[in-house]
Symmetry: C2
Subunit: 204 residues, 2 copies
DNA sequence: CTCGTTCTGTACTGATCGATACGCAAGTAT
DNA sequence: ATACTTGCGTATCGATCAGTACAGAACGAG
């Protein structure tokens, strides 16, 4: 018994929709309305498919959310991974905050950050989604810390610098930017905030 | 016909519970589970009263939430108003961030900030709660800005300082601290973040 | 063609949502 | 004691929730 699709060998009725496109639509609904605020009706209407097709393709609401979060990480939030590849710690920090300002204030996307606002607090059924986002944010802090540990090694952060505090600090500011963007703050209002946050960055 | 209570002149059956105590319990449920995640059953069980009593005393879920937010402002979030009364802008900024670290990491209270996490994103029925919190956060920014306008006047901020950017910056960091606290960050991890955010504060 | 497999649409499940109708309990006022 | 007013408890409302059973539709294999 084979449950997974194996490349081009398609047997049975072919899918009548683009799964990537549908996931993109679902991601935006979660982004705008949050995990608990997004009903299956909201989701499937935006995805352009029926409940049955959604369950067949994605499992259930929770798995759909996890896949939407993955897509978010590789799409709108990909600036974070790119920032870590900058040559110096300062460049990485700058790219990270500037990227967060831009990603949370794109005119064609919901305001704010899916990883922050889609499940910050939740009741019983939403706990798993909330915990997934907590892990997601903490992974982000860990990635920044690793980058800054390397920076101390490479000498573009002073030996006394604390990579853990710097990483937590940057993620805190980025999270705050996401909240402010969800509150209606514009790109023009938030970029100076990001600049202010970086003004005291440790010199190499 | 008199619909409001008039002090001690109580006619009819007296209320069998303490409304302030019940509101305190409701506030904590909203704080932990968010507006949409807190069901009437969750709320009334925590409040120790029946649905009927809740509707009679507070109106409906949305009004209960608004009153819980007021109580939160005057209780756990009262550090914000106190910070504005500090003698200098620097003291105010320090008190504001330190207060936010302490309020979001109290061991006997839910982690994070009700004003951030109880309705950052929401679907249809929760929109009003979300909008109320957006206004609440923006009022906080405005209050900080007013304080820093005064500080420029009084000379404990340099003439070139931008009170609007400083206010937005502080609220952004505080919001980020709230998100980090909701992610499990401890007081010991967040206080250094607040310190880092204040390191570059404009000199008098 | 027929068969097996997979996807789609309708219609529905039990559970839970916020909110209420109604009758009784518990007070004050006369 | 009686009338009036208000809070409380039960039992329930229609709407919506996430999730599914089932039958037909659309494909490849034989």
């Amino acid at each position: 018994m084979e449950t997974h699709r194996k490349g081009k060998t398609a047997v049975g009725r072919p899918r009548g929709f683009d799964a990537e496109e549908a996931l993109e639509r679902a991601m935006r609904v979660f982004w705008e309305q949050g995990y608990e605020g997004a009903s299956l009706t909201d989701l499937t209407e935006a995805m352009g498919i029926t409940r049955t097709s959604m369950y067949a393709a994605f499992g259930n609401k929770e798995e759909l959310f996890r896949k939407a979060l993955e897509r978010y990480t590789e799409g709108p939030a990909s600036y974070a991974a790119r920032a870590a590849e900058e040559p110096t710690a300062r460049d990485a920090a700058t790219a990270f905050l500037t990227g967060s300002v831009r990603a949370t204030t794109r005119p064609d996307s919901p305001a704010g950050c899916l990883g922050v606002q889609s499940a910050l607090a939740a009741g019983g059924p939403g706990r798993n989604a909330r915990d997934a986002l907590i892990a997601w944010r903490n992974e982000g802090v860990a990635a920044l810390r690793d980058r800054f540990v390397r920076a101390v090694d490479e000498g573009d952060l002073p030996p006394g610098a604390d990579p853990g505090v710097l990483a937590r600090y940057l993620m805190t500011v980025a999270n705050g930017i996401a909240v402010q963007a969800a509150s209606g703050a514009t790109r023009e209002e938030l970029q100076p905030v990001a600049d202010a946050a970086l003004r005291d960055w440790p010199p190499a």
